[in-house]
């Protein structure tokens, strides 16, 4: 079987079709198996160079992209904020030109400005992978969430997925909304009205500010991290109040479906978005998300570099 994959870059979920999303998720199954073997490495990207350009701090995503590239036999260079010339005043365009001059084949970028990956992709021959741009998109996170859900339920369509928390500032939420609606899942967004405004109904989501109503029929509860770094005082009620009104505790979770999955993109603020007993409990797939993230990123790197464009 063959499939015509036509993208050199992965900039977001929005431009992808349901068929392309399915293709990535199917390929990721094969890459997950590579991680379970004695030799956890395949030669697909031998001789290719990947540069991880993380202008915003990240441990999990950067490590995951680094390990994914290593398992595909690519060479990886990490450029972190503090060490980069950007702090010395270099523009993103000049950084990009320099990366191009080093013949990088893949650039994985995380940036606080929405659209930064698109800016690079339009200027570079290299494959550009968006590892999170501002509050815009974080496509590989949505793909790994979808992979994890599909692994548990065998499908995405028809499932009730509740995304709980700081939706307004969350690129994870946006990518998840794009992906899940394309795949036919039903989305409920919940949280404080300042962080979950009604305008999200335009995406085809249900919006509620009542957490108990939000989780009652949920097959999947995806908890978002409270992003202290992006909060403004006027928007956020305060940690104690948030935990009391919107945190997922044992009492609330007891009223959810017994089969409901608990997901979290990490890092967890224990006792704020979710109680430790639930995060570490039997319904939690938080660590499986990390494992699956590696497989999904391998698939994305493989596909974006694989075609003759």
């Amino acid at each position: 079987m063959r499939f015509a994959w036509k993208h050199k870059d992965l900039l977001g979920i929005e431009p992808l079709t349901a068929e392309e999303i399915t293709y990535i998720l199917d390929a990721a199954r094969a890459f997950k198996q590579v991680g379970e073997r004695t030799v956890k490495k395949v030669p697909s990207l031998r001789g290719k160079t990947q540069i991880n350009l993380f202008i915003e701090p990240s441990t999990r995503t950067r490590t995951s992209f680094e390990l994914a590239a290593t398992r595909l036999s690519a060479d990886v260079i990490n450029i972190a904020t503090s060490a980069s010339s950007l702090v010395k005043g270099e523009t993103l365009k000049d950084t990009a030109r320099n990366l191009e001059a080093m013949n990088a084949d893949i650039i994985v970028i995380r940036h606080s400005a929405a659209g930064a990956p698109h800016f690079l992709a339009a200027r570079l021959k290299a494959s550009v992978i968006n590892a999170g741009d501002g509050a815009h998109e974080h496509p590989t996170q949505a793909l790994l969430d979808a992979f994890t859900i599909r692994e548990k339920f065998g499908r995405l369509s028809g499932l009730n997925v509740t995304i709980l928390g700081d939706v307004l500032y969350s690129r994870v939420a946006r990518s998840n909304i794009w992906l899940l609606t394309k795949m036919g899942a039903k989305i409920t967004l919940a949280g404080p009205s300042t962080l979950v405004p009604r305008v999200f109904e335009q995406f085809g989501c249900r919006v509620t500010h009542d957490i108990e109503e939000a989780i009652r029929d949920a097959d999947v509860i995806n908890l978002l991290r409270i992003q202290h770094e992006r909060q403004r005082k006027t928007m956020f009620p305060g940690i104690g109040e948030y935990a009391a009104l919107f945190g997922l505790n044992q009492e609330r979770f007891a009223r959810a479906k017994p089969t409901a999955l608990i997901m979290h993109p990490g890092p967890i603020n224990r006792g704020v978005e979710v109680d430790s007993e639930i995060a570490d409990g039997a319904r939690s797939v938080i660590l499986q998300q990390v494992t699956n993230g590696l497989a999904v990123r391998m698939a994305v790197l493989f596909l974006c570099t694989g075609g003759k464009l």
Partner: protein, 176 residues
């Protein structure tokens, strides 16, 4: 484009039966034998060969399915990408005699990729190669141990193997 039939269902079955006997002859210790089919067409062929070998030596050699998509040497050069799937090798390959099975042997590049892919699962004692059709034009120093039919062909011709399991009928045709 015209199609010349090379093998019908009966000829294909006879070829596989003969290959099974040759495999048993060359491997007296049949209990250490295992078959690995290269997706897609190698898999049903591997199952058929394993059944025939099993009937001859009254044993049940295990069969694995190998995906070589990640080990190919043309990554970045193809217009279309393969659909990669997990390999399924339900036994330990270490110290086994593996019979690697594919439908058509052409340049040898798929076999090179398959050999590398197998080594990721362990260290077999020996690997032998069984192909239904050898059409020549090798680009690598690879030769088959068991061949169903040798078909001299021109480079631009296509050889299509259809199998009952995937295409509803058994046949091999040469398309000019």
């Amino acid at each position: 484009m015209s199609a010349v039939p090379l093998m019908d269902a009966a000829a294909l079955d006879r070829a596989l039966t003969r290959m099974a006997h040759e495999i048993v002859e060359q491997n007296p210790a049949a209990d250490a034998l295992a078959f690995i089919g290269i997706r897609t067409n190698g898999v049903p062929l591997a199952r058929r060969l394993a059944d025939k070998v099993g009937a001859i030596c009254r044993c049940a050699p295990p069969v694995g399915e190998l995906d070589i998509g990640m080990h190919r040497d043309d990554h970045g050069l193809r217009a279309e990408l393969p659909v990669v799937e997990p390999s399924h090798i339900p036994f330990d390959v270490t110290d086994k005699t593996l019979v690697l099975v594919d439908d058509v042997l052409f340049t040898g590049r798929s076999i090179r990729a398959a050999l590398d892919a197998i080594m990721d699962f362990g260290r077999p004692r020996r690997i032998q190669l069984a192909v239904l059709v050898d059409r020549g034009h090798r680009e690598l120093p690879i030769r088959p141990d068991f061949v169903g039919k040798n078909v001299p062909s021109a480079r631009r011709e296509r050889i299509t193997v259809r199998l009952a399991e995937t295409a509803g009928r058994d046949e091999v045709v040469l398309e000019k």
